[in-house]
Symmetry: D3
Subunit: 259 residues, 6 copies
């Protein structure tokens, strides 16, 4: 089977990350994976949601949007339609949940980090690419909080990245582009830490149900892709001297994810 863009079944699309893409945000990247392009920003707000007031804990919340021309057929703005559609809600909740899972909210203190993922070009995998990119933006924003002395300890326990996998014409594939995604029988999104542990698995067989064996194949493919994405994150963030999760985990864990 030949993939549309001649990739191997277990090959990622080329990933390119442009840090500090937006100057007003404390952290930002433009992340590109093939033709999918997302601006991920992390901005700091000194307030927390009502349920956390006085708790000393912080919060991370995710928002996601697509510019109208990002899709093949122009997508009407949710602001013009007056309401956010279900898919957007779902993705926003996923992004927030994923990033919160690797941050120690007590150490963050009573502040909110707004993660904004604005898709400017969509070719499949926008939600997973948003998570992978947002983690970097978040790390930059937290770094700036440390540099200003607002927080004492870097509150991130793990690297986190996400990837989509799926079964197309019976063949498990890594990192589906839009055309593959549209034809997939099974579609799965995996969010995973650099320790190889799952933060989120969402697998759907709307076209046809899938067996346990197929699921195992998809999980293997996914882990492979995520390891490579985490390496890209490490290269970028290592440069700014961040030791993510270093206090908590022993060395061999770090080694285990080298390619």
């Amino acid at each position: 089977m030949v993939r549309i863009d001649n990739r191997l079944y277990d090959e990622l699309r080329p990933v390119k990350v442009t840090p500090n893409f937006i100057k007003n945000a404390e952290g930002s990247v433009l992340i590109e994976a093939g033709n999918t392009k997302v601006i991920c920003t992390a901005t700091v707000d000194d307030k927390v949601p009502p349920f956390l007031k006085g708790s000393g804990k912080g919060w991370i919340t995710g928002e996601y949007s697509m510019i109208p021309a990002s899709t093949i057929q122009r997508k009407p703005r949710e602001s013009s339609r007056g309401r956010i559609e279900g898919r957007t809600h779902e993705i926003q909740r996923l992004i927030g949940r994923a990033l919160r899972s690797v941050v120690d909210l007590d150490k963050l203190g009573e502040r909110t980090i707004w993660i904004d993922c604005d898709v400017i070009q969509a070719d499949g995998g926008t939600r997973t690419i948003s998570i992978t990119g947002s983690f970097i933006a978040l790390a930059f924003a937290l770094k700036s909080l440390m540099d200003k002395g607002c927080i004492e300890e870097f509150p991130v326990n793990n690297y986190i990245a996400a990837i989509s996998v799926g079964i197309v014409d019976g063949q498990p594939l890594l990192d589906l582009c839009y055309e593959e995604d549209s034809a997939a029988d099974v579609d799965m999104n995996i969010v995973m830490t650099d320790k190889g542990e799952y933060v989120e698995i969402q697998g759907t067989g709307e076209q046809s149900p899938f067996t346990r064996e197929q699921m195992q194949q998809l999980l293997d493919l996914g882990k492979n892709g995520i390891d490579r994405l985490v390496n890209i994150q490490k290269e970028l963030l290592g440069d700014i001297g961040l030791l993510i999760g270093s206090c908590k985990k022993d060395e061999e864990t770090d080694n285990s994810h080298q390619e």
Copy 2:
């Protein structure tokens, strides 16, 4: 470890299904699993969404709501707040996707089945119980369409049921009640057919990530629970003489899910 309600770790809450609970719907049940109670109805509409007009295909759409007093703290109505929250959108999409996966929409013809899940008492697992109950309501509604001669062949390929599993204090548990769910480190919802194939897996480790081994344990627990729920469905629907998926699958498949 003793569970709040003295259940074993792999024990379902008692399930009770009252068919034809609402007389105006073509299909309806009140499904109760412990203290969680959901009215599931299936009503037939002779129209389809715009994207299916003229296609000859039908559609199944899910809606979900909780009455204000269903939760421990009164939950404000979404109609009063003027918008549907993200969690509701997510559940509605899940219900629709799950039921569509086992129905041959071509055989359904150009009509929509509205699945309404109204939670009247909530004690954990409302989304999975909604799916399990809705399948029965849907089968009744499709039966009534066949009886009226509107469709020729029963368009359901598989039984489908859903269950929640999770890890609480390190212990994998089946069918979490609200208190367990609130304390869970990992929470997973599984939607599965009577053939043991997955339609949807959604696992989240917001409190802490989970390993592949833990996931395997949860999947085993879940399959066990779903087999028992499917048996309850079969008993109920067998009485009305429905042979779900009988044309497509050989006999041993049916046998393989007997307890």
Copy 3:
């Protein structure tokens, strides 16, 4: 004239009240009158609306909703449509007004009782049945407040119940079912206390105006029905030892409403 369900012109539909139908609410009933079924709950909230803050007075507010499958033709959810329709607003205001009229809001103290009426099956008279049932749920909730020592004196001055009457084919009828209601020339809803005093009268002659004589006939019919509904309430609430209005009214008033 023979009524659809063979009732006499002045005959109520069979009424069945199931107390404590929803465990999370301080007070709740499932009330059924023929095929109309409503879940009425009363939940206590320790806040009051802004205009009562600091006044020492409490508030009672009513909400009303129909599940989609409650009506013959599926009724789209108001939450999906994003707004509450006029009829719902009207009924909600009526329910709140009616219940407030028999409660001493000073004795209630600064708290709000939320009355939720969720119609699960509709066959006419949903608004009046909601009021009759809500009064019982409210009494249970207030009893629980007394039992917890939150209020000192039971703040209810009167029993209150409601009924619909109407003129169909020139014949005044008590307790209209949906089919009768649709064919009625005149439609009237009466809310009345156990003392035979009116709390609300809403009579409409959209099909044709009505004379003063016809109105008198309807009021007579209505009083008769309400007396019987109040007796049902008394039986239920007498069991929990509530002496509604006992401090204020002399004995003969109570006697005067025995059947």
Copy 4:
């Protein structure tokens, strides 16, 4: 008891009707009753609501709004708040129902008359004054349809007017101003035809329930006020040669309402 503005208990406020107040509407009046001032317009639309398409029948719909400065404390615009409040819905439904009750919708043909009541100054009774004024605007609009040959027969069966009555400090009063209305124990709105028949009665005893005797007193007061309002309508509309209800009713009916 002396009323605020020195009126007798059964005295109407001075009523002034300015016809053709708005030139773009087919029918319009400015109606003033004391300090309450409402612009009532009737505009013709060649479409009908979906449920009447192809029926040959017409429709009359009412809308009601208050300009922000109409009330003592500035009332925020419903357009700015993004939704119409319950009270407005209630009044709009009342206005539409009242006017439809005296019009033969078959004779109107497939068109909608929009009745708009815009309160520019409010001092009690805005809903009843809106109905009394709208009837005149409606008659003008229907006259213009006849003059253009769009309808053959004048489709109005009866005059219709409305008034508020209430009990303040134990005293039944006609035509309550705002201050009286705020202090009323019982508040009743009556919509009645020139034949003395009721189209709508809405009586509320939120402050205290009311007896049947009190209701009779209020109905007597109300009839008296409405007879006088209908006379004002007759004077205005008689001038344009409209014979409302003349084909259907005998002469003594008309005489019976002369003062």
Copy 5:
């Protein structure tokens, strides 16, 4: 070229101002310019928007609405449609900006003046007429604040008025009525003080772009119209003894705008 209503190219429509048209507002006028009629009110609110809390400064905000029958074809209410259209937003912002430009918000103190412009009949120029009328209503409201001792000094620096000009069939025209406005190639709204200084210029050539020479002609025409409108304001407000801008400007400035 003969104008529809026989006016000269530089002739204003007859202007009529009825002060104190709405008794509940601190300031109000009905302003009529030909067939365009707007109720302008100014009401005082003791609160300010969040961004001014604690600043000691006040605010002026404008709202604008058209009653449905004000236009030739009935205009659906924005409250019924659930949102305010772009044109309304634009006009509201213009009104607020214009009036704020001539008021010393520090002298106003921490309070908001709500300017409401409710168009009851529209024949072109509603936004400019709203500004011209609102200034008078505002002055009355500020006068009443001074009379009550709430403010010490009259905080208005300049008279302000507005007018529309445009080019129709190549001919510059002053004060366009609706029919002219619809046919205009260029449309310009000018807001100007009594000192002949501009507060706002909005010129649009949607049908065809316009030259600098044409713009000069339009500005000349506009200044002429505004001078006459300011004189009308001065006559009205002079009667209540207001010396607008008198502390700041020397006498010849005032003289320079006498006709």
Copy 6:
């Protein structure tokens, strides 16, 4: 006076245009002017708004949005707030109006061009930069329609660009950045064709009114800036061989705008 970024009073910020920035749109650019960055896209839709159906004419509509991190303080999404704010409406209307003014909508045929301006970084002048960039995106989209044979003649009559000018501390300035804009006494946006004719002028003196002389200075400054922006457009579009307005205008017109 030294400007923040050391520009001369009549100096534009560096402009950079990246064509075809978004592959799914028929036309797109990333336009940067200093730190302000806007993605402008033009997408073709084969439908027209209802008022143009059957007219043979096309339409151009503008939408504008800012990503949350584009501003110094994170700007909440309008989709989350459920409604579009007044400023956005105003800008959207301006963009649509400007572009329609230079396109022959008859030649466009019954189709809509959606212009989307998504601001990804804001440092003043977003609305004028949006217009300048959108014109290029529009030209690309129309070129693609010609190339596909959908339209026969290039329907653009003029180049169009826009610029902001203003008065800061008494000094007229060209192309204000955010900090200058915030401090400006007078703010003016000018939209102009390559022929030096005005399409739109919007001048506001909220902080203080401005004289006719000041306006002339601002117009001179603006013309100068626009001429340079048009030259940039010509360079870009000349490359693709577009002869805008060439059929209609003689040669010297083109020469007159060379720098």
